[in-house]
């Protein structure tokens, strides 16, 4: 059961990942998390190569991956913007933030800008509800936002200040 489309480099990386994380059935999610940590999404060839190394059908792995909203199947922009859509943020104007970001970056919810600089996602809650509305860019959380504040922050990222 060789992955015929996989290059040697990809197979090598797959072996390395499996060696690091483990190949027991309960390691599927941590394996996928490791792949995504390295590539920001799940590249087809790498997932197939990992399945190969684990000696399980790739469909098994995809079955698990598609269940969880954390996993992405397309490449992501350099910066990931997550707008919180949790209850507290929803009643505190989260929609305004999404509208402002979409306008500022010319991108849609769930989309990536043409220059691959930004991806825009929404999340269920970032756990900073008392600072609602909240946005997370890469690993930084910004609270008590308004549409003009979020525009300013996004512009700073655009200008490479972060």
């Amino acid at each position: 059961m060789a992955c015929k489309d996989c290059s040697n480099a990809v197979l090598e990386e797959a072996r390395q990942i499996v060696k690091e994380v483990g190949s027991e059935p309960e390691k599927v999610i941590p394996l996928l998390q490791e792949i995504q940590k390295r590539h920001s999404y799940l590249p087809d060839d790498l997932v197939e190569a990992v399945a190969d190394v684990m000696e399980v059908p790739a469909s098994n792995i995809y079955g698990v991956a598609t269940f969880y909203s954390q996993f992405r199947f397309t490449p992501m922009g350099k910066h990931l913007i997550k707008v919180c859509k949790g209850t507290a943020c929803h009643v505190s104007g989260a929609n305004l933030l999404t509208a402002a970001i979409c306008d500022e970056l010319d991108v849609e919810e769930g989309g990536t800008t043409e220059d691959m600089l930004f991806s825009l996602e929404t999340v269920a809650c970032l756990g900073c509800c008392s600072l609602a509305p909240v946005v997370m860019i890469d690993n930084k959380v910004y609270g008590k936002l308004t549409s003009s504040k979020v525009r300013k922050i996004v512009k700073e990222y655009k200008d490479g200040k972060h």
Partner: protein
């Protein structure tokens, strides 16, 4: 500078409020004086973040609202030994109102100790309860004490913790698992995150005591991936615990052994349900399954397993150290001890609070929380998230206990409390939650999958002004089917937000259906955005922020919005500094 220590609260939301920047700044400034800043986590006064505490000769002062300018003052006072009385948030009237009614059992150390230091936890009587258990108690005695305390599961369902432990203790099998549910999926809640970030050792000690009492050999903390800081601090805490031989083989020289690790979730709300969570730990799709068999008989890898919530474990060391009586002296009806709540939404003082059972919702919202942030009348509080309901202001004298909250149609839930004022549309809130559960349904049960979709379509129709009165009956009928035929709590409780809003806010539904009006001005199809000519100064700001170019008018001219082009995004309203744009 002698006998002076400076602490900065670095919890996730403190950091989001700017506490890390304050830390870096003060650290830089004080380094030259050979002073090291110390780190704590969140004291729960989120509304006043960033927070800096200064201890001098054993006296601790808590300063809030610290910006760079105020940080300069604090740095100066550290150097001179003369301390400012400004922004002392624990002593101000506001702060006293916020703190006086609280009783801190689970949150006792949060924001006080350094969560990354096991020694500070030990100095605060940490791991003492575990030592007492190992040295003085037989496992079954611990189960009895926890039973007697009346502690109920804080993850939502409120099952008696001691009783649950007795099932695992009595289960057949050599290898038993213990799970800590830190999936905290309820949007608008952050109790578990704050506890794990602020005092991870307390939760770990609770798990160790549970393991000793039930004979569990291996523990898993299943933590939401959205909580990187909690995961990091848990990792540090487990490593430190292993080093001190509180975790591992032959703990404290006894023949009790227990291994513990963290498993990161992958973003599926249903994985908070215990059987789905176990499937996820096994590396499968996180689908709930029928019970029985219950986890105590067949859990992870078909071995006996016990699952408790973060806060549930967090109560255990206190109960062992102080006795069941010290815990169940806080009693109301059939509920004992305290409950942690995350106060958020349109609330003046939002944050993390811990209150004794029996306090009323009104006392929490008006006294502790200070009422609404807008100053407008409060309309409702949402409790229990997507499984819970909206409790209207007229029922705010309802006391906090499992039974009384259930009577309103909401549930105690895990502790999210989102406050709503007159700018919140209750039909929109119902639609919001249903969209959430519909999206998170695992799809196994027909009614949960299709029924919630039908309900969502009806609600969407109503918010678009195309509803008919019969829709309300249809919603109630569908709700009944979904509750009855769903396998897990997600489906069973999904109708709650809809049913409670129909019950308590029927007039809002009627306004949408009969008058095609959204009284709160939220539902886009039912509102128009327009300029109030008398207020408009012609500053042009609105025209510049409008994404679709719907606003016309030049400098110093009264602006006009074209209703055909306007998408009612609301950006111009927020941008206008002259209150010149209104929703009608």
């Amino acid at each position: 500078m002698e006998n002076t220590r400076v602490f900065v609260g670095l919890g996730s939301c403190g950091i989001a409020a700017g506490a890390q920047d304050i830390y870096d700044y003060m650290d830089q400034e004080l380094k030259s004086d050979n002073m090291d800043l110390e780190v704590t986590s969140c004291v729960g006064m989120c509304y006043a973040e960033p927070i800096v505490e200064i201890e001098h000769n054993g006296e601790r002062r808590r300063y809030g609202y610290v910006d760079k300018k105020f940080a300069d003052e604090l740095i100066e006072s550290v150097k001179t030994g003369e301390f400012s009385d400004k922004n002392l948030i624990a002593l101000s009237d506001d702060g006293k109102k916020y703190l006086d009614r609280q009783v801190k059992i689970v949150l006792e150390n949060c924001g006080i100790i350094n969560p990354e230091s096991i020694d500070e936890y030990i100095n605060a009587d940490g791991y003492k309860a575990l030592a007492i258990c190992i040295k003085e108690y037989k496992p079954e005695e611990i189960v009895s004490i926890v039973k007697e305390s009346g502690l109920k599961g804080r993850g939502g369902a409120g099952f008696l913790t001691g009783l649950k432990w007795s099932f695992l203790a009595g289960a057949k099998g050599d290898y038993k698992y213990l799970v800590c549910n830190a999936d905290e999926g309820d949007p608008g809640a952050f109790m578990d995150r704050s506890v794990l970030e602020g005092d991870p050792h307390k939760v770990i000690e609770g798990m160790l005591i549970a393991a000793y009492a039930t004979g569990a050999k291996e523990g898993v903390i299943y933590c939401r991936a959205e909580y990187p800081l909690a995961i990091k601090r848990l990792g540090i805490a487990i490593a430190a615990g292993e080093e001190k031989n509180f975790i591992g083989d032959n703990i404290m020289g006894s023949d009790f052994s227990f291994h513990l690790h963290v498993k990161e979730g992958a973003g599926a709300f249903v994985c908070g349900e215990e059987t789905a969570l176990m499937a996820s730990i096994e590396g499968k799709r996180g689908m709930p399954r029928l019970r029985p068999p219950f986890p105590a008989n067949s859990g992870i890898n078909k071995s006996p397993t016990n699952i408790n919530n973060v806060e549930t474990y967090g109560n255990v060391p206190f109960i062992i150290l102080n006795g069941a009586g010290a815990f169940n002296k806080y009693a109301f009806k059939n509920s004992y001890g305290t409950k942690v709540f995350a106060l958020a939404g349109k609330i003046k003082r939002g944050g993390l609070i811990e209150v004794p059972m029996g306090l009323t919702i009104r006392e929490i919202v008006t006294e502790i929380g200070g009422g609404t942030s807008s100053g407008h009348p409060v309309k409702a509080v949402q409790m229990g998230g997507p499984a819970g309901g909206c409790i209207p202001e007229r029922l705010f004298d309802t006391p906090i206990d499992y039974d009384s909250i259930n009577e309103t149609g909401a549930i105690m839930g895990s502790g999210g409390m989102v406050v709503m004022d007159d700018s919140t549309c209750m039909v929109d809130v119902a639609r919001y939650f249903l969209a959430f559960t519909q999206n998170e349904s695992c799809g196994k049960c027909t009614f949960c999958r299709i029924g919630t979709k039908r309900m969502l379509e009806i609600l969407t129709r109503i918010t678009e002004g195309n509803g008919v009165m019969e829709d309300l009956d249809k919603l109630e009928e569908l709700a009944g089917h979904i509750s009855k035929t769903s396998l897990c709590g997600l489906g069973q409780l999904a109708p709650n937000p809809v049913l409670t809003t129909i019950k308590y806010f029927r007039e809002e539904y009627e306004a949408h259906i009969k008058d095609h009006k959204c009284p709160a001005g939220v539902c886009k199809s039912l509102i128009t955005i327009q300029v109030i000519p008398d207020n408009c100064t012609g500053c042009t700001l609105c025209a510049r922020v409008c994404p679709v170019g719907a606003i016309e008018g030049g400098r110093k001219k009264i602006h006009v919005i074209d209703p055909e082009t306007c998408t009612r995004c609301g950006l111009c309203i927020e941008a206008c500094n002259f209150n010149a744009i209104e929703v009608v």
